[in-house]
Structures are given as structure tokens and as C-alpha cells.
Symmetry: C2
Subunit: 416 residues, 2 copies
């Protein structure tokens, strides 16, 4: 797109026609007329997931019953789905498993990082890290007797606080509120230079931006299955442990699925070699199978195409909002610089909650994050350029008609 030509709906629609990812949209179930810009909270339903779930119910669970664990390879699902996710995040297939929730996996990996750096006491993070990561760090520290400390510092001060007290630096790669993306390579290098380990939360990056865990030397990572991986509500999460650390520690959630011989039913725990020891209990096969469908779709796409379209969509959204909604108090919270932008755009606005409610009523689904953020996720597999145009038109109309001032959009507790 030539930035000097006027942008019109027709010129925007033309970009969809030549979009190399254009074919992917039809793989998803998206309600007519809805503009869904919340795939960073819950990705939409892939059509193939419906078929897969019917097959697993009627042909696998229904017919094979207990034999399904081997005959239908359920028992391999955590490693198999993990190895697929590994390809999205620059990891070896034997470094990633699918298991539990992100929160539980934060507990496992932070436990490992503290144990593997036993002379140090600080978990370094930021106060705007995703809260559950901070909560888990607090719970872990309390359980370990209070010898450790969660040190939360502003993002700009991280490097200043990387010193010989830091056992592990833990950050979410793309900030859930602002969409700002850290320089994973640089911060991992800096952490290592001071003897700290790293644990990255990829909730807002896996499937949305290129991630190269091996190339950047990351020690541990976790991530979410229900956002850009389109795994369904509460889909299982994933976990990465670099090969060098896998057999150096046995994590405390030492359930039978991580045992060297789970079906020997021996009374003493013996961890299996490799990342499998980070498994705990029996995996939820229905939810994990749904996640696998979402991951398979992403593996059919080129992550460079995803990144290029993500930046183009977010650039266009910023440009159109700042043109069409100028003077209405929206203040961009997301970096303009591509290198540090994830796949979302957020704006501050004092009436953010009401504005988002009005937008949702106009069939544009984003979300609100307290205290004043309106947030829009752009998932390149199913979001079109015309969706960006139409969303901004509806937003502009909400400002022009002052629709967001209606009493039904006033602040209340909100769950999503």
C-alpha cells in the first residue's frame, strides 16, 4: 500500500484479495457480521475441531473405551502436541510438552529455576507482568519458606536490576495490556551474563509472532493454548525446558505421568529422562485434542506471513483510528515501532469500559483491561483488512453519536 494514496474500503479490500493467508479464514467458525478482535483472549472455533471432537467421542472414547489410551494414542498427546507447538516457538521437539494450565506450568518452571540457581534468592519481574505469573511466584516463595523474594521493577529498569542476586528473570514476551514486546534475545543474554536464568511466558506470542527459544538461549518457557493457538476455552497450556536443564532437576508436581515407568505402579517416584518429567496427572484428552486441531492449522501457515500481516493489520488499525477518531481522547498504548509490537493494539481512554461495551453492542469484539485500556487483538489467520476498516468505522460512529454514554454501558464488574 502506498501511504500517499488515500485509504478507502476498496483499497483495503484489495489487500485481502492478494493476502497469502486469505484461505485460512474459512477454516474457522465465525458468526456472520461479527468482527472478532479478541483472539488474544479466546481464539475462535476451527471447523475441523468439530469433526475431531465428534470422532474422539463416538469413534475413540465411545468405541475403544480404555483401549483408546494406546490404540488412539491419547497417551502420546502431551508429547505429540508439545512437539508441534515446539515448531511454532523455535524449540526442539523434545523440549516442549502440553500439560496443565499456564499457571501450573509457571509453578513447575519457576521451581526448577530456583532450584537450579540455589545461591540466589530473587525472582525478577515487572508489576505489569500477567498477574497469575506473579501470583504463582508469590505462592512458591511462601511455600519455600520465605527465603526468596519476588522483585517487581518497571520494564525500563530490568537491566539495572539484573545482578548477582537474581536467580531467574521472568517476563511475558508480549505484554497483555499494551502489546509491547520485549527483546527476548537481548534480555536473555543480559540475564545469562549476570548468572540468572530466564523463564518467558509466551501466552501472547506463540502463534502470533516469531519466537526462537533455541536461538535466543531461553532456559524455560510456558504458554497458553486458548489464545492464538485456537485451542478452545481453557485449553491445556504448554511448557518448554531447554535440553541442558531437563535432567538436572525433578519438579515438585511429580505425578505419575512424569514417572519413568508410570504403569509399573512402583511406590517411589523416579522421573523419566527429558521434558516428560514435567508432566503431572492424567491429561484432559478432549481439551487437548481440540488444541491439537488449532495448532495443526498454524503449522500450515508461514509464520513470516503471519508476522507481516499482523504488522500490516495493526499499522492500518492505528492509522485509521488516529484519522477517523481523532479528538476523542484515545491515547495509543501500543508501540508504533514494529520491533517491539506484538499482535494487538491498545488505547488508553478514561471511558474505556463504556466504549468497549458500545463496540461489543455494535458487533466489534475487543476487550477492556482495567483501569483504562481498550484492547484489540489481530489474529492474521482469520482477521481481514476490511475487518479493520469496518471496526474503525463502527468505533468512529460510537464517538460521533456518543453512543458510549448510554447508561447501559456504564462500568460494572466484567469477567473477560
Amino acid at each position: 500500500m502506498n501511504m500517499h494514496e488515500p485509504v478507502t474500503r476498496a483499497s483495503v479490500a484489495a489487500r485481502d484479495t492478494s493476502d497469502p493467508l486469505g484461505r485460512f479464514r474459512d477454516l474457522f467458525h465465525l458468526p456472520d457480521g461479527l468482527i472478532y478482535l479478541d483472539g488474544n483472549s479466546l481464539g475462535p472455533l476451527p471447523r475441523r475441531t468439530v469433526e475431531r471432537m465428534n470422532r474422539i467421542l463416538e469413534h475413540e472414547w465411545g468405541r475403544m473405551l480404555i483401549k483408546g489410551w494406546t490404540a488412539c494414542e491419547w497417551i502420546d498427546a502431551p508429547a505429540r502436541v508439545g512437539s508441534k507447538i515446539a515448531r511454532l516457538i523455535g524449540a526442539h521437539a523434545d523440549e516442549v510438552i502440553c500439560a496443565d494450565s499456564t499457571s501450573v506450568n509457571v509453578f513447575k518452571t519457576l521451581s526448577a529455576a530456583l532450584a537450579l540457581n540455589p545461591d540466589r534468592t530473587v525472582i525478577l519481574s515487572t508489576p505489569d507482568n500477567f498477574p497469575t505469573d506473579l501470583y504463582i511466584a508469590q505462592g512458591l516463595i511462601q511455600q519455600l519458606g520465605g527465603r526468596h523474594e519476588l522483585r517487581m521493577v518497571d520494564a525500563a529498569d530490568i537491566e539495572h536490576h539484573l545482578d548477582e542476586s537474581v536467580a531467574v528473570l521472568t517476563l511475558t514476551h508480549v505484554n497483555y495490556k499494551t502489546g509491547r514486546m520485549y527483546d527476548m534475545a537481548h534480555l536473555t543474554r543480559r540475564a545469562h551474563a549476570c548468572g540468572a536464568l530466564t523463564m518467558w511466558d509466551l501466552a501472547h506470542s506463540a502463534g502470533a509472532v516469531p519466537v526462537d527459544l533455541n536461538g535466543t538461549g531461553v532456559d524455560f518457557a510456558v504458554g497458553c493454548g486458548y489464545k492464538y493457538l485456537n485451542g478452545g476455552p481453557g485449553a491445556p497450556a504448554f511448557l518448554y525446558v531447554a535440553r541442558i536443564w531437563q535432567d538436572r532437576f525433578s519438579q515438585p508436581l511429580s505425578g505419575w505421568m512424569g514417572h519413568a515407568a508410570p504403569f509399573a505402579f512402583a511406590p517411589i517416584y523416579e522421573p523419566v529422562p527429558g521434558v516428560g518429567r514435567y508432566l503431572c496427572g492424567t491429561p484432559p484428552i478432549l481439551s487437548m485434542s481440540a488444541l491439537e486441531c488449532g495448532v495443526d492449522i498454524l503449522l500450515e501457515a508461514d509464520i513470516q506471513h503471519i508476522r507481516e500481516k499482523s504488522l500490516a493489520l495493526t499499522d492500518l488499525f492505528i492509522q485509521l483510528v488516529e484519522t477517523r477518531c481523532a479528538g476523542h481522547g484515545l491515547d495509543l498504548a501500543t508501540p508504533r515501532e514494529h520491533a517491539v509490537r506484538g499482535s494487538q493494539v491498545s488505547f488508553h481512554h478514561p471511558a474505556g469500559y463504556a466504549i468497549m461495551q458500545a463496540l461489543i453492542a455494535a458487533d466489534v469484539i475487543g476487550d477492556f483491561r482495567a483501569p483504562d485500556i481498550v484492547r484489540f487483538g489481530f489474529a492474521p489467520l482469520y482477521t481481514r483488512y476490511v475487518d479493520v476498516w469496518d471496526a474503525v468505522e463502527r468505533l468512529a460512529q460510537i464517538f460521533e453519536t456518543r453512543a458510549w454514554e448510554r447508561p447501559e454501558y456504564a462500568q460494572r464488574n466484567k469477567v473477560t
Copy 2:
């Protein structure tokens, strides 16, 4: 049944005709000709689960997308399903949540028990407790610095070892191998008398035998969703915390779902009052919804009818096996006494693995547990008296024809 009359297939079939639970069998998807005696490992597919999963995919996730968390009440699923399970185990609705795996829930509840009994150091259990419970205890003790000890003693010696060193007694109510059931009331009373807490694993009792957690004064319990609750492969587990203990401890897996205000996104963890603080990450809604279907069916049945039929089925099985298979080396591992029998029957046999393989080939599904146990679960909702008869006939034929000696049934690693 008059024990003096000869038992025939016709007399057995007559019992099915008058079975007050007879109508439940049609609620399940059971392959024609298969005799499924492994519902204590994985319960069968309820027909309504297929409908429910289609609805949750196409109407909830597919159409409502992120709004499903509130509009479809996904966010309430852990408490809602937990409150339903509470009715099966004699607990208040606000004492049970559905969450995570059994293993993860063992970690939470044992963490609580040790913290709430801080002057004591022993977790008392048996070496034949289900292994993952023991493994988790070992992982927890290692994480706590080794100050605690897992003391495993024979079941007969438990009371002898209940002394002032014991922080918590943890047992599986019904033994997974033998089907022996502990006297929960007596052992809980004895544990309390010496100042110990109790944590009971209900994996093989919830939905199979009457459980009265409140009446017996149990402190903590966990249980499994994929056995007698028919929740599907790897269904989420559940967890019980007696009211008196709920607000006295904040468990270490302090994820955002247990926060007092999860959507305020505050950086400091503050546990919600009540059992909800035992939640951790985002729940797997597809798997949890499937579990809810299985639980709903159980709530439509009378647990006394379930218990009566369970004892009748297991009595009949023992009687027929000991008559029809006499002299073939089967040695009953399950108690004959009703008061201490769960809902399964196990036999020792040196060739147990091969015998079970031959039975499976004859469409009778039980399972094998090392070193020498053949195990048969009897789930009264869908197991008929004629199934017992036919299963024993097929077993007798395997002995008579020496079918189990075929090389294809020889020992190998087995997953289930």
C-alpha cells in the same frame, strides 16, 4: 436370589428385569457384544455428552466466543460441577471444586495439611496407595526441604503408627488393586484423636460407594472424574476442603482463578474466601463440560441402589468365578465382607497378564495390575447381571481351552 436355587443365565437375566437402575444403561454408548468391566479405569461415553459437546462447540464457543465465559457460565463451571460432585460424597456444596488433575489436587491438599499441622513432620500412608499420591507426597517433601517424611506402613499397621508425629494420614478409600475399602469414619476418628489431619483419595469411591465426608469429619479429599463419574479420558478432577480449614491456609498453586478479584489484574495475590482459593489456572471447559454430563447422570440415581447392585454384582461374580473356574489358580484378592469391599473384584493369578489379554480378545474388558492382579470393575449404572454371567462363561472357556497360553498374549509392557 435364593442362594439354594441353582443360578442359571435365565435366573440372572430375571434380576436385570427388576433392576431399579435398569433404565440407566441406555444412557451410555456401549459397543454391541462388549462386556465392559473397566469403568473403574475409564467410564463409558454418556450419550448426552455427545449432544452437550456439539452444543458447546457450535452454539457456545463457535457463536458466543469470549462472551461464553459469562453468557454460557463457563466461569462458574469449577464451582458448579464441584457442588454437584459434593452431593455424591456427603459434602456441602461450598466444600468441593472441580479443577486440575487428581495429582495436582493431592499437591494442594497435602500442602495445606502440612501447613495446618506445622509441628508435625510425617505424612502417613501405605506402600500400596495409588502411586501418584505417593509420588506427589515425595515431590512436596523434597520441595519443603526434607524436613518431612513420607512414612509408608502396611494397612494393618496404620493405627499403630498414628502418633504425635503424624501431620496427615492420606489413604485411597478403595484400593485400586484389591478393591478393599477402608473404614473412613473409624480411621478419621483415630487420626483426629492423635492430632493428625486426613486426606482421602476418592478415585475409586465417588459414584461407586456411599461416601459421607461431612459425617465422618474428613479434612481434605481429592478424586477422579474419569472413572465412575464417566467424565471422559483425563477428565478434570475434584477437591474437597472442609469448611473449617478453607480460610486458614492459602495453597501454593496460587493462580489467578483462586484470586479474590481475578479480573482486577492486581499484582499481589489475595485468595478468595472459601474453597475457590484451591483453583489455580483457567479450567479446561470442554473436558469439564463432558464431566458434568457424567455427574448429572449419577445424580439421577439413588446411591443406595448403586451400592446394593454393586454388592450383588460383585457377589455374583465371585460366586460364579469360584464355581465355573475352580482349580485354575485364581485367588480372590478382594474382601468377601461387604463392609470393606468397593465396586470391583480382583484375583491374583501368576498368568494374570495373559489371561486378561485373552479375555480382552474375547470382548470382556477388565485390566491387569502388576505383578499378578486381574481386575474387574462393576459400575451398576450400565453393568447388567447377564454381563457378569457372560463374562464368567468367557473366562471359564479361556481356562478350559487354555487360550491364554497363546504366544500373542504373552507379557509385554502395557499402558492401561
